[in-house]
Structure formats: structure tokens, C-alpha cells
Symmetry: C2
């Protein structure tokens, strides 16, 4: 199901205006600053960094994070993990339940060529993974998923020891530790409330560890944290592996809704003006089919005087401040509202430094839905 | 920039449960009913049907519409038109302005292998298309785009004759007629108001024709209409070509928000339950990365007692009516809220009849952003 990588882009080495629109650009200086920031926070707290690449979906970007200090990567699904393994990433956490014979078969095939770890919260599912992995002679590592307050997936601390024991006893699987993702705290903008809710989640997570250890089982990995609270989560003491990764791109959602401190905007969407026929406005070629908008609109940052008034499917509706003049063919640079809902619409991420295209990274995980 | 078609899907000839989740299915009986309905309305009104394929993006589906009576297809951008031409579609309207040297060069290349027509609303843009097409020895057909009330692209009726004259006089381009897309009326749910606003748009469109004809220029094509008003637009008399096409899939947006009469739901999204660890709910594997949600949530139609409570990026949050029992691995069938924002997230559309997969159509236009 993986797609072949596109051929080498002809725009490499040229100014960004050589790239047709709409297009996504990552500023390499900002990306490197953000990755270094996250790696440093983890290092200072003694926490392993295994960043989630669900937002970028680009193996070349994932490799940059590993070069910056990440121990491996985190994915949301088997399809994403497959394209990362295709690109040579060798240590992959799928932070999700993998269910059904079709997907478990792919998981087992993946475990034959990369170290792969998945979340479990169901006994039958755990037995099915074991039954598929054992005859293939591979080991699928498991984290028992704990519901730390998001009320999505995950068992209670009380139910954790039985699943951990089963993961130890069955062939083809290995118990590596616990996962507790506090998805419900990411969007909290009040930093005191975010701290309190993160601490409450950490307390449930720590309780799960106590319960498993009380059953005589050693817990290795304690994985959690997202970009929306990572700088808090890394010092709360319940986790020793951080999944946060999306913040390396720092879109509006991370900067404004999630209040991530100390990062720089790294992801930009460039549109081209296609019509100025209606007075007082201009129309661009990046609509909501090029920029996810369920969380909000992209923010125009250049040229001055241009504001995003709305998105149609294939059209940006720009409002022009008095005296602002743009013409068909002019370019408008925007910060997407949310990288997660934008990257998957594109096929290439253009890596740029000082206005010059250094690389065109395939967004190989886009469309890998299963 | 086109992607190679995926290899033949192994699920063909098998029941739909052989397809891994999340996945999109089109019910062929419903699709054929809807296409026949639109073709009949056009035939009865003496209007040419050139359906828009911006929603489906699947060349095989486009060919079914041509087989059902469409004269050709309508696209939103050059990338979509290229994949349609690759698949053998020979008559393509790009109902949008095509701006800038990179895209105009692709437009000219496209015109060498298909009959291609685009919208123009700017003199310089028209001159640039002519300057690129003439030396290549091809003709790009043009429709002068009229603003009939959507206030997006398009000139006033008064400005139309000058552009039409230029399109006649310059080499490499040909004046084919006018376009007037009434995007602002599609979402109106009150049918009387929709009729009145459609009539007002038709009146502006008719005025543009009068102005062009008063300048001694014959107008061929009068193109407009969307699924949200096509049954009205087809009898208002100002247009002779209908662009409406998305309604062949009939999602919730078309049935509920746009009040399209006489069609059947044809597009279905199937998720798999991946967790039931949290009491009272179940979690599925189709989140907003598999189902566009800026217009609303997908509607669960089977099994009974399951309701979509929300979407996370990769998770459907299902609420269960009292007494409803589902387990990991169970499947839930949903109607997407909007096909336009859902299809582009997938790579294959599974064509199904009586529960058996007849074909797996590549959604080749997904990701063709430019």
C-alpha cells in the first residue's frame, strides 16, 4: 500500500518562487531550533524523546528528529509506520490499538523489519497479536494503554496488571511498559489549569505503575505527553518517554491554542493570487483542500495588508487593507492553523533555508489511512 | 506530478468486509440512479451536462458519468485535469482561473492532448495564456467568468465584452462563452429563497450575455449551476451547460444542507472498532483524517444504537445506546458529512454492488493540489 517516492524535485537549489502554488514550506532554521528545544527539555529531565510524526508524515523530517536526539519515532497507525520503516526508521511506537486480522498481519510483517511497539487495552486483541506473531517468529512489543482522563482508549490502573501479565506469558509479544496519553489537556490555554490537569493525569499514570509493580512486574517504558504539555509532562515524574513531536513545526494551534513556549513558526503555506476582479478583495489558490480549517483559518503573514477572510474548497478569500494592491500571480505567505490537518493534504514538503529550496520531502504518510 | 495507479486491489470480487478500515465505498446502484437522475433533468431541459469531479477525483467514476450522458467533465485545477486526461477523458472544463507561468505551461501541455477550456477574468492573464499557447500551436478555449453574486472571481456583465473580444482577437485562445457559478446559493436550505437567489444570479448571467451579444459577439457556452441548485438552474434559461456533479455521491451536505431532491446516498465510510475499554462508548479508527468534518460529523447508519459523538484525528468516538454491545473488530458504516472534504483524504474508492467489491477506483486527483 506504500506509494513510490516522487522523482527529485526540479526546484532544489532554486528560490522558493520556483515552486508552484499552493505549496507547503518548512523553514529549516526554525525546525532545527524547535527540535533542539524539545531534545534539550527531554535531556535535562532525563526523559527519552520519541516524537510523534503523525503531523508531518515525512520520513525525511523524522530522520532529522532522530539526528537531533530522538531515540525513535511514534506513529498513529500501521500505514504510517510502514512508510517510516521503508525509509529506514528502525524503532517505531504505534501509539494506538491495532485491531483485526488484516492489520495485525501487517503489524507482524512490520515487526520482522523494525523494532515495533503498540498499545493494547483488550485481552482478546492481545491474544490475537500473539497468535499472529508467534508462528512468524517475531516479537511485537506492547505497552498497556492506561486511560489517564481522555476517556478514549485505555484501561483503568486496576485492570493493567492482568494485561501486563498476559503480555509476559504469551509468545510473540513482549511487555515493555505503560502508555498514558493525556489528550484532554492539550488544548487547555490556561497554564495553571493545564498544569493541574497534567498532574492529575500523571497521578493516574503513576498509580497504574504501582499496581503493575505490586503484581511483581517490572515496568520499563512509561510513555505519554504531547506538544501541548510536554514541558510540564517531562518534569512530572510519572513518565520516562515523551511522545510530543508535532511542535517542531509550530503552527497556530500549537502557538496560540496550546501555548507552547520557546518554539518558532516553522511551517508556511504559500498561495498565489488568481483573481482580483471583485473590488476590495483578492482570491488565492489555497482553499480548505490545501489548508485544514476545522480548527481555524491560516494567518497571512506577507505581504502586509492582506488578511484571510475565509476559505472555499479551492480558494482563499483575502481582504485587502485600504491602499493594499495585489495582482494575479502575486504570492501570499500564511501560517497554517493546524499542521495535522494540513500536511496530509499535500504530497511534498519543501525544506527551505534563507529562501532557497534545499529539499523536497515526500509526505509519504499522507493517505496511509489504514 | 501524476501518481501511478495502485496495483489491482486484492479485494475485488470479495465481500466488503475483505477491505481493511477505514475505507470509502460507493454503492454502484445508488451512483447509477443519481447519475441517471442528473442526466435526465439536463436532457429534459435541453441543457448539456458537464459534471464537476472535484469531489470524487476518481477518473473511473468520471467515465461512468460520461457513459451516463455527460458530454465531458469539469475540474477545479490543472492537476485534476491532468489525471483525468491521463485516464483518457478528452473534454475538460477547468472552472477556475489558471494563473502564473508554471501553471499556464502545464495548461498548454494539457491542451495538446485534450480539449481544454478555462475561466478568465483578467486581461493580463488572458494575454499570458495566449502568449504561451500560440507558439505551441494549441488552442486553449476560454469562458469569460462573470460574478453572478458569489463575489469570488468573475467580472461584471459590463466588463465581459472587452475580454470576449480579446479572446477572439488573440492567437492560441478561443472564446467559447461565459461562466457564472452561483456558489452563494448552494447552501441555502429554504427552497423559496434558493429559487429567488438562483433567479437573481441567472438574471445577472443573462445580462452578461446580452452585453456580449450587443458587442456583436456570439455566445456559445453559458456554464454554471451546482448540485445545490441544479434542478432549478437547469430550467432558469440563462445557462445551457450544467457543472453540477458532486450530487452523484449524495453525502449529508447535499441531502440535508443543500436539499437535493430525488437522489440516494451513495458514499459510505466504514470504520472498525478498536477499543471498548471505556464504559458506554466505543472508539473507531476513522477520525477527521479519514472524514472531513468542517461541515459536520459523519452519520452512523449501522449497526443500530451507535452514534458518532465526535472525531479525533484518528479516532471516531461512538456513543452506545443502552443495551448496545460492540466489540473491537466490529464495523460501523457511516455517511460522510461532505464528500468534497472526505474523498481527498483517501486513495481508493471501493465500488460495491450488493455487498461485493466490483472495483477499487484510484482517487487519482487527491493531492493534485496545483
Amino acid at each position: 500500500m506504500t506509494q513510490p517516492a516522487p522523482a527529485r524535485a526540479p526546484e532544489i537549489g532554486l528560490p522558493i518562487t520556483a515552486v508552484d502554488t499552493p505549496a507547503l514550506f518548512v523553514d529549516l532554521d526554525a525546525l532545527e531550533h524547535n527540535a533542539a528545544t524539545m531534545a534539550r527539555v527531554c535531556r535535562e529531565r532525563g526523559v527519552v524523546w520519541r516524537p510523534h510524526v503523525k503531523a508531518s508524515k515525512a520520513p525525511e523530517l523524522a530522520k532529522r528528529l532522530i539526528a537531533a536526539g530522538a531515540v525513535g519515532i511514534t506513529c498513529a497507525k500501521v500505514g504510517e509506520a510502514e512508510v517510516m520503516a521503508d525509509a529506514g526508521v528502525e524503532d517505531i511506537l504505534i501509539a494506538n490499538e491495532i485491531v483485526g486480522p488484516l492489520k495485525i498481519a501487517r503489524l507482524v510483517a512490520l515487526a520482522a523489519r523494525a523494532r515495533v511497539c503498540v498499545a493494547v487495552d483488550d485481552e482478546r486483541n492481545l491474544r490475537e497479536i500473539s497468535a499472529a506473531a508467534a508462528p512468524a517468529g517475531v516479537t511485537v512489543d506492547l505497552l498497556v494503554d492506561i486511560n489517564v482522563g481522555a476517556n478514549r482508549c485505555g484501561v483503568t490502573p486496576e485492570a493493567a496488571p492482568a494485561l501486563a501479565r498476559l503480555a509476559i506469558d504469551l509468545p510473540g509479544v513482549g511487555f515493555r511498559g505503560l502508555m498514558g496519553y493525556e489528550g484532554h489537556v492539550m488544548g487547555i490555554t490556561d497554564l495553571e489549569e493545564k498544569e493541574a490537569r497534567s498532574a492529575a493525569a500523571a497521578s493516574v499514570f503513576a498509580e497504574a505503575r504501582r499496581q503493575v509493580e505490586a503484581a511483581g512486574i517490572a515496568v520499563g517504558i512509561m510513555s505519554g505527553g504531547g506538544t501541548g504539555n510536554y514541558w510540564m509532562a517531562a518534569r512530572l515524574g510519572s513518565l520516562n518517554e515523551l511522545q510530543a513531536g508535532g511542535g517542531v513545526l509550530l503552527d497556530q494551534t500549537y502557538s496560540d491554542s496550546m501555548k507552547v513556549p520557546g518554539h518558532r513558526h516553522a511551517l508556511f503555506l504559500v498561495a498565489q493570487v488568481i483573481s482580483t476582479a471583485v473590488p476590495g478583495r483578492a482570491v488565492g489558490d489555497a482553499g480548505w483542500k490545501a489548508s485544514g480549517q476545522h480548527t481555524g483559518r491560516p494567518l497571512a503573514v506577507a505581504p502586509a495588508g492582506v488578511t484571510v477572510r475565509g476559505l472555499n474548497a479551492e480558494h482563499t478569500i483575502f481582504e485587502l487593507a485600504p491602499g493594499t494592491r495585489v495582482e494575479p500571480g502575486d504570492r501570499v505567505t500564511m501560517i497554517p492553523h493546524y499542521s495535522d490537518s494540513t500536511m496530509l493534504l499535500h504530497r511534498r514538503l519543501y525544506a527551505v533555508r534563507d529562501g532557497v529550496v534545499e529539499a523536497a520531502w515526500p509526505i509519504a504518510g499522507a493517505g496511509m489511512l489504514q
